[in-house]
């Protein structure tokens, strides 16, 4: 076990974990940031997606040591009041069914729109096809990404 200093959602936090611990379990088990979900543990489903220095990253395969000195953002820190354009769009279009995969979906959508404020169909598809939603909310995710792009411009 070693002590690591992490910057998560704008806060400096200290954790005492072994060096190979994936960030996912540090967030969930150590820091009680449970909005980031475990779905497969092998970067297949995207439920654990967070931002590291703004890049969408699969926290289930990212050891804690790779995040040192970087800015980590989780769904809890995507916006202060839950009103990021992506969150607003997801709510307006009533995207979630069970909702379990949606924090990961939104983190990828938010990163996409930051990088590319006007994604076309193909670009949205490329980004969002990296995720699995077992409830099949893909149609509404598609609409929501487009709505979020509009909201972001206001």
């Amino acid at each position: 076990m070693s002590e690591y200093s992490l910057s998560i959602n704008g806060k400096k936090l200290k954790v005492d974990v072994s060096e190979d611990t994936p960030l996912l379990w540090v967030l969930r088990d150590t820091l009680d940031l449970t909005g980031t979900k475990y779905g497969c543990g092998m970067a297949q489903c995207g439920a654990c997606t967070i931002h590291i220095d703004g890049m969408p990253t699969r926290s289930c395969v990212t050891p804690v040591t790779l995040a040192i000195g970087k800015e980590i953002t989780t769904i809890e820190g995507l916006s202060e009041n839950g009103d990021h354009p992506v969150q607003q769009a997801w709510d307006t279009l009533d995207v979630p069914q069970c909702g379990f995969c949606q924090s990961g979906q939104m983190m990828t959508a938010a990163a996409l729109l930051k990088e590319n404020p006007n994604p076309d169909e193909e670009e949205i598809s490329m980004a969002m096809s990296a995720h699995i939603c077992r409830c099949g909310t893909y149609h509404r995710i598609n609409e929501a990404v487009k709505l979020a792009a509009k909201l972001q411009k206001r």
């Binding site: 076990m1 974990v17 072994s18 190979d20 611990t21 994936p22 379990w25 969930r28 088990d29 150590t30 009680d32 940031l33 449970t34 909005g35 980031t36 979900k37 475990y38 779905g39 497969c40 543990g41 092998m42 297949q44 489903c45 439920a47 989780t74 769904i75 809890e76 995507l78 839950g82 969150q87 997801w90 709510d91 307006t92 009533d94 979630p96 069914q97 069970c98 909702g99 379990f100 995969c101 949606q102 924090s103 939104m106 598809s125 490329m126 969002m128 096809s129 995720h131 699995i132 939603c133 077992r134 409830c135 099949g136 909310t137 893909y138 149609h139 509404r140 995710i141 598609n142």
Partner: protein, 709 residues
Amino acid sequence: MKNNRRDFLKNMLLTSGGLVIGFNSLGNSNAEIISLENLKDELLSNAFLTINSNNIITIFSPNPEIGQGIKTAFAVIVAEELDVDWEKVVVEQADLDIKRFERQLTGGSGAIKHSWERLRKAGATGRYALMASAAKKWNVSAASLKTDKGFVINAKGEKISYGDLVKEAVSVEIPKEIPLKSNKEFKLIGQTIKSVDNKTVLTGKAKYGMDYKQAGMLYAQIVRPQGFGQTLKDFDAIEAKKIDGVIDVISFKDKVAIIGKSNWPIMKARKVLTINWTNTKELESDTKHNQIFTDMMKNGPFEVRRKDGDIEKAFAEAHKIIEAEYQCPFLSHSPMEPMNFFADVKTDSAKLVGPTQTPQSAQNQVAKLLNIPVENITVELTKMGGGFGRRLNNDYALEAAEVSSLIKAPVKLMWTREDDMSGGIYRPAVRYKFKASIDKAGNVTGFALKGVGLNAGNSTRQDNFPVGAIDNVLIESADYKSDITTGPWRAPITNFLAYAEQAFIDEIAFAAGKDPVKLRLELLKKAIEKPVGKITYEPARFEKVITTVAERAKWGSAKKGLHQGFSVYFSHNSYVAQIAEVEMKKGKPTLKKVFAVTDCGIVINQSGARNQIYGAIVDGLGHAMYGNLNFENGAPKQTNFDQYRLIRFNEVPEIDAYFVDNGIDPTGLGEPALPPTGGALANAIFKATGKRIYKQPFAMEDEKVADIL
């Protein structure tokens, strides 16, 4: 946290007054006012609906929410009859309480149909009491009053809020027959209403089973036999126990449990744990299953499920005989949240918290397992990351309880994805053999179905269409007791049977030289005019969804290059007809669009209902195309999403979802749109390519259709 909120609500009701409605325990559907005196002694979760003096309306939703939208739909129904401002309604998940709520389970798409009247009465009882109180206050008749958005309004237009009436309302006598709104008076039902959980889900605050924590809680993961049919021989945990954060390694019932302070050390320990398993018999494999299917399809033993007329005579006199066999693999449910449960077992009591579709069954089974009085076991429901039928089985909740009782500590049992996919309770593998006869005029004279399943129970639905519309019918099933555990999977049996049957009826239509839609309508006409034996469906409702989808998709006059496939199915009391459209692009078929017309009676919430139709079609397409679980040495070969392919964002076609609005009392929507999907796709593939597909997954059957999505 949830309990703190409840205590707060309870204190507020006790100090500043409020109206509390619950269900009586007499077993009928009437609601009653719960006195605040009683509330002091009872858990607030016994209440169904509370209105406090601040006009905050709290509705407790008793049924497990797995993403089907029941928490929102239930509250909409209550709020409709109560006539309140939807924005002021707070919806809470109720804990298990079998005295107050009945049928606290999620299965069979049955909640709405079952609870429709009860929920309306609960809301209407509150409204009645509030109107009677206002009538007394104004000294007018209750009949002269109306309500809107949480206010009672008199003939002069004066308003009084529900919150200002609750103190008087508690002593109003409730009549046996409580008046309900007519459909025309509905303000909320049928509107587009967002899920009540969006706010917490979209900010990461929603607590799923996996997210639940309690002070002093330990984590556990379990290593189960590597193949079905194996038992535990011995294990060596010396290395595993050396890992920092691992507390203990124990065994019970052929399983080895690792206890730790968090998940990662346990996952590391699993890699260095040495376990020896014993093969007590021949372990099952695809090869063995193929032999069983071949043998049983020939030799049975079959149980006759239905017999009408004389099938042998019909076949002997046939102008044409059509035969086909369909094959369906095992499937994993794979909800996005793997199985997990929390248990805190004490000598004579237990607290259970987690995701389950059947909380009462969890309570009863844990009571039996640990010999604890059932009344000393509480079950708290969390949000659930999907279910699809997997969480009808409480094996993982029992494991959590057993581990907690063994280590004498509160514990969260976690399954990894690999545990989830290899842990059993699959959709059973089934094969169907159909045989039909037609006469010279192209009429269907005989229809026979043999279903053989591996732990499938009755793999047929013997009273469903086209049975009832054909004079000579024989439906039989045979079942093999396999070591591989199975359970209900979204739309049990019909999730595959519907595809096989709808594809076969398509074959009959082509053999008879008839249009597939017209053939169904002819058969239904016969079921209306001269039904054969008992039928469970209403032919007229069937007809309506068929003709409506045919109109919407311009069946028979689709533009050139579009190939349409038709399918229709009745399940879980709802009717869904579908047309899939395939386009040929550079010699390869592409699925462009699926039209779906649904009759589930009254649509409670347009948004939730559409979500279910979209989701079920996406689910149906994905599993028809890719779903596959192969067995070797008693274990599935696929253990995670790298090998077990699920449908993704870039693979969904456009969907046109339409509801027949006939004002009939509502039925369920969690499952009914899934069964017809595979058939519509397979029939469209046939139209486009001339090839019939007889086996799931479709993608492995034909190279040309592998990229159809």
